[in-house]
């Protein structure tokens, strides 16, 4: 009796194990593709894996694609910094499409991780202004599709903090325990460079050492280092824990729309501006589907959702021209072109800089 019960029990669990193994291979795409084996002419699988930043998995941000391809299974894998996204791609991520931000374009091309975009197949490509298109080009080839954009500046609580005019408010001991910096080395280097008036792409070792010392001194001021704009930063700004934060305009617009006492600085050193880019993995089995995904990203509803729900700018120029919500006009500084003139756009970094800056940041963490 006991034997048969046990055998059944083990049999059942083995069956579960087999199902698991099957799921593992299924989710991983065809084994031949990643190992560089012979490419078969089999039809593309009806699945798409996206390497994303958390928050973007909400269907609002790919709704046009979801409607056009209701049967396609879209899955998401997450990263939380550009270094992390790059590492996941280099580590053999199975993502067909990946999302990262300006400054990191060259690495993907150099490492052969990205496949050129056939823009002739994108129906919404003409809505993208030329200046944006250029951000996605390396050596004249369109490797990346520009999508979301915005500012980085200081988001602050107007009840506790008088008008902010400089990035150095992040270093102000008066707000000890109420500051929050993004948990990212390159971001810290950029802020310090603005404060000191240095060129971030051309820092000396001494300057980098000074930057490190500044952030070590700044450490006790933080309530915490944030890692997700909508996961940990924004709730803490809205509940009054954080008064001064390195922030993108999305959280600003969210708090503003909720009636919280917040303002978004235009520092004398200038704000920072960034652009989000999508690339198609060189290893993808679903190139056509991925192209379709990118095209639908630029479609009107999806782009408008990014603007109205996430408070991010979108690369579709028609959508941006149609904005009439006062909160958004404020968030994107649409009525004040002078802000854009003083804005620092994120430059391309080298591998050496990336390594030095991320290691610097880990030392700050460890201190």
């Amino acid at each position: 009796m006991r034997v048969s019960a046990l055998t059944r029990f083990l049999g059942l669990s083995m069956a579960l194990g087999l199902i698991l193994a099957a799921c593992g291979t299924q989710g991983g795409g065809s084994p031949g593709a990643s190992s560089g084996g012979v490419e078969s002419q089999a039809p593309e699988p009806n699945e798409l894996a996206i390497l994303e930043w958390s928050g973007y998995e909400a269907e609002d941000f790919w709704t046009d694609f979801a409607q056009a391809h209701p049967d396609t299974e879209v899955t998401f894998e997450f990263g939380d910094t550009d270094a992390n996204i790059l590492a996941l791609m280099q580590g053999g991520s199975q993502a067909d499409v990946f999302h990262f931000y300006t400054g990191w374009q060259q690495f993907y091309v150099d490492a052969g991780l990205v496949r050129e975009i056939d823009t002739s197949k994108l129906s919404n490509w003409d809505a993208v202004p030329d200046a944006y298109k250029e951000l996605g080009q390396i050596d004249g080839k369109q490797y990346f599709l520009p999508w979301d954009w915005g500012f980085t500046s200081i988001l602050y609580n107007t009840e506790h903090v008088p008008e902010v005019t400089s990035w150095d408010v992040l270093m102000d001991p008066a707000y000890e325990g109420h500051v929050s910096m993004w948990n990212d080395g390159p971001a810290a280097v950029a802020v310090s460079s603005y404060i000191n008036g240095w060129d971030e792409t051309n820092l000396t070792d001494e300057q980098l050492a000074e930057i490190e010392a500044d952030w070590i001194a700044q450490k006790p001021l933080n309530a915490f280092y944030w890692s997700g704009e909508y996961t940990d930063l924004c709730p803490a700004v809205q509940d009054g824990t954080v008064w001064v934060a390195y922030a993108w305009q999305g959280c600003y617009a969210t708090a503003l729309a909720a009636g919280d006492p917040v303002a978004y600085a235009t520092p004398e050193e200038g704000r920072n501006s960034w652009f989000g880019l999508y690339g198609i993995s060189a290893d993808t089995d679903s190139y056509e589907l991925a192209l379709e995904f990118l095209d639908m990203k630029l479609a009107e509803t999806t782009c408008a959702n990014a603007v109205s729900l996430f408070y991010y700018g979108c690369a579709n120029g028609d959508v941006m021209a149609a904005i009439d919500d006062p909160v958004l006009i404020e968030a994107f500084a649409i009525n004040d072109p002078s802000i854009l003139e003083s804005t620092n756009f994120t430059p391309l970094v080298t591998e050496e800089q990336r390594t030095a800056w991320t290691a610097m940041w880990e030392r700050v963490q460890a201190e």
């Binding site: 579960l16 698991l20 193994a21 799921c23 991983g28 580590g91 053999g92 199975q94």
Partner: protein
Amino acid sequence: MTARPVTRRIGVGRTAVPLRGFYLGMLFLLYLPIGILFVFSFNAGTTLRFPIEALTLDWYAEVIGNGPMLAAARNSLLVGAGSATAATIIGLLVSTAVLRFRFRGRGALLALAGLPLIVPFVVMGVAFFLLFVAVDLPRSLLSVAIGHTIIATPYATLIQLARLSGLDPALEDAAMDLGATYPATLRRVVLPLMGPTVVAAWLTSFIVSFDEIAVAIFLVGGDPTFPVFLYGQVRFAQRLPVLIAMAVLLMIGTVALTLVALRLRTKE
């Protein structure tokens, strides 16, 4: 207390140290945070302030409609079942080989099965991560399951080793004298006697895997296990109550499994 004469108490004088109070106090402190979680899962608001304003079952209802969360729970069940099965088999094979045979490398095999216990999880996570990078195996539920098999192996081995060492090898000799082959003896004599222990080892391994996060964080691809999912969502204050409702449901399951495993192990 019964009417039976009290046997002489041994240890510290009864009145000197309030040991019972200490035990009960500890129990209270251990259950208090869990109790708070429990209350929180019925609390109508998304922050926990005392006194509680209103109670609700909404969070539990929302669990049912939360696809990604249910998928994560299913993933954990699959990984747990797969890795527990593999670890239990490994543990059973290692125990039998080590206790019933003398061979070169016997000590090494036993040490190998026990060593994962003394490697910090963050190091194991790095190790598996590099392995899957090196063999170009995409990170997936399969990679998590392989990692969890190694982590569960010491538990599965130690539990079965303890039981098998209590079984008289003479039983096996008798079976073989009666003409059974050794594999048949193992299957028809040893395994039935080991039955409850095998189940206990499986359940323990399953729970180890089901709750594991530090290694899983390094190994999940697009499909998170439940702890990894929870870890990613735990910072959304508004989502906390639903997560906790789900976690409370799973907690009831794991506590039940643990009680079964404990019972099976103490019955011997």
